[in-house]
């Protein structure tokens, strides 16, 4: 089972988002970076699948040279290969991002390793929340797709790799995915033939902590690099701003257990006590 997991480097914003003076970016001078939470779960899911069925996990990101740090974090969790689609640091839109990822998947599909059987994504990036890159990649590669998945089972029937021509994917013949999620209190299950594109949500698993051997392996790993060409698209960011009312201050009811009577009065006022 050859799996590609696409991740995004996002700032660790903690308690407050601060915007740069020009309103174009989140100020990251005081923050670190991490992989978007849904995507970390996608990597964990891929590692678990290959531990069970064999194969390799390739983790890919599109971002500045520093995004190699996030690839190494994911390699430490058990991914085998890293691919960096290096940008000049500009924010890429979802259409161009999807096109560059699809190109990378196709490139691999025509190479000696063959295509991917499964492409995993996080449901949406923590920062831009565009909700569309996985679906656009699926269309570009002509693959079935489902998003927002909280439970995934992969079954392999039959063996052998049947590389699916120029589609950029191909592999374990007859393999299928049963993917499900809860939607408005009802479980929705989907049955997909692989190769397929699936985006997952946090909660599908609990990502492991990297092991020491994993960290050492990640440090030494060679990351494959490409430089796709930037292109603009119809949706353009003009200004980022923090919503109004973000910096009020709570009225302090009291300290410790002395505040309990005030809490009870407040709950009465809110009408939440019977």
């Amino acid at each position: 089972m050859e799996i590609l997991v696409c991740v995004k480097r996002v700032p660790m914003v903690g308690g407050k988002v601060v915007v740069t003076p020009d309103g174009q970016d989140v100020d990251t001078r005081m923050s670190g970076f991490a992989v978007s939470p849904h995507e970390e779960c996608a990597v964990e899911e891929a590692v678990q699948i290959t531990q069970r069925l064999g194969g390799t996990v390739t983790v890919l990101t599109l971002g500045p040279a520093e995004a190699a740090d996030q690839l190494r974090d994911m390699l430490a969790l058990g991914a085998g290969h890293g691919v960096l689609l290096e940008t000049d640091g500009r924010e890429w839109g979802p259409m161009a991002t999807a096109a560059a990822i699809a190109d990378a998947a196709r490139r691999r599909g025509v190479g000696p390793d063959g295509g991917y059987d499964l492409l995993l994504f996080g449901n949406e990036a923590a920062d831009t929340g565009d909700y569309q890159v996985p679906v656009r990649v699926a269309h570009a590669l002509g693959l079935p797709c489902v998003t927002a998945i909280k439970n995934l089972e992969i079954t392999e029937s039959g063996a052998g790799a049947g590389a699916a021509g120029g589609s950029g994917a191909g592999g374990a013949a007859g393999a299928r995915a049963r993917a499900s999620r809860e939607y408005r209190g009802i479980e929705e299950a989907f049955d997909l033939a692989l190769p397929a594109v699936i985006s997952v949500k946090e909660g599908i698993n609990l990502p492991r902590y990297p092991s020491l051997p994993g960290r050492l392996r990640a440090k030494r790993a060679v990351i494959e690099q490409f430089r796709p060409e930037y292109r603009g698209e119809g949706l353009r960011k003009e200004l980022l701003r923090v919503p109004p009312g973000e910096s009020k201050r709570a009225e302090i009811l009291g300290t410790g257990t002395d505040a309990v009577p005030a809490l009870v009065r407040l709950f009465e006022e809110f009408g939440v006590l019977s």
Binding site: V13, Q132, V242, E251, G254, V272
Partner: protein, 351 residues
């Protein structure tokens, strides 16, 4: 000229998120007149049954998947919808994201749509992403507002970081594809109810469009749902251990509410992910959110933007939650909460 809005059904009516998306669609349609774009009565051919006399330049149409007889026409009329397209297909038995998008792509032409709007639900985002890929159009997810600008483009406000950051954006596209951030717009009725004309629409679907189709299970039973609870008692890192949640659960029970937790609690394995409140967990909209031992990271606060009142219990008067809460108690939740439980039990005559 039409703003076409995907309306998800909920029982016999329209889903609340879709009613919000309809209110958003009305604002967008009304902005065409103000900006002088679209809706010129002398422009081209008007689609059947579009603008009622005296209405703004664009009308709002709904697309509903299912038989025409099951269209929630009453709710759509209140929301100002003039035309409803009921997508009927023998092949389409359940939710099928690609097939839904294919049908809407056909409807863009049939309804002369200049914009397609959906609630930013799992279904809405998924269907519009497929539609965007099919049509090769840009898509703006999680919008809080949209309006026509005089330069022919759309001016949008989008949510980033699940609403903790706003993005002013310009959209240049022949048809705007927009999803509506679920807690950004209220489900207000139209000033004047509309008369709804229901059109049955049979899309042209292939087997490939139907390859991914949902099988639904029976509805799940369970206690108070976190998403709809009137009171949520939240616990974070400050709870300190899995055992510490006992008092919070007891308090939630006394208040007829649900227990919610922060991300660190689920990543420690202290509580299951389904209890997580936040950007990557459940969005809550209670009357009261009592946040105990929660620092107030934006990942968490993004899940409680719709809470009416937030009360924090925290040892740190400088924690970010204090800047987001309405009221706060400075103290250790492991002392405050048991004392509060005792006080509430006494008040209820339980002890």
């Amino acid at each position: 000229m039409t703003v076409l809005c995907l309306v998800e059904r909920d029982g016999d009516g329209a889903a609340d998120a879709s009613l919000r998306a309809l209110a958003f669609s009305r604002e967008l349609a009304a902005s065409s007149e103000a900006s002088g774009t679209g809706g010129d009565p002398g422009y081209g051919e008007e689609p059947a049954g579009s603008n009622p006399p005296g209405a703004p330049g664009e009308n709002v149409a709904a697309v509903v998947f299912g038989p025409a007889a099951e269209v929630p026409a009453g709710a759509l009329a209140v929301a100002g919808v003039t035309d409803a397209y009921a997508v009927e297909s023998d092949a389409l038995t359940g939710y099928a994201p690609l097939a839904w998008a294919r049908a809407i792509a056909e409807l863009i032409t049939a309804s002369s749509a200049t914009a397609v709007v959906a609630a930013a639900t799992d279904h809405g985002n998924e269907v519009l992403a497929h539609l965007a890929a099919i049509t090769d159009l840009p898509m703006a997810a999680n919008c809080a507002s949209a309006a026509h600008a005089s330069d022919g483009r759309y001016r949008l406000v989008r949510h980033r970081w699940a609403g903790s950051l706003l993005e002013d954006a310009a959209l240049d596209a022949p048809v705007a594809l927009l999803t509506v951030a679920v807690d950004a717009v209220a489900a207000t009725p139209a000033a004047v109810p509309a008369k709804v004309t229901v059109h049955a629409f049979r899309p042209d679907l292939t087997d490939g469009d139907l390859a991914v189709c949902a099988t639904e299970s029976a509805e799940r039973a369970g206690g108070v749902s976190l998403a709809t609870a009137r009171v949520v008692v939240g616990g974070g890192r400050g709870v300190g251990s899995p055992a510490g949640f006992g008092a919070l659960e007891e308090l939630a029970g006394l208040l007829g509410g649900a227990l919610g937790v922060s991300r660190v609690v689920t990543s420690q394995g202290w509580r299951p992910h389904k209890q997580q409140v936040g950007q990557t967990g459940t969005r809550i909209s209670p009357e009261l959110y009592l946040a105990c031992g929660i620092s107030g990271a934006i990942q968490h606060m993004a899940g409680c933007l719709s809470a009416r009142h937030i009360v924090a219990v925290n040892t740190d008067p400088d924690a970010p939650i204090i800047a987001r809460a309405d009221y706060a108690v400075i103290g250790d939740l492991n002392q405050v909460i048991p004392a509060l439980v005792t006080a509430l039990r006494e008040r209820a005559g339980l002890s």
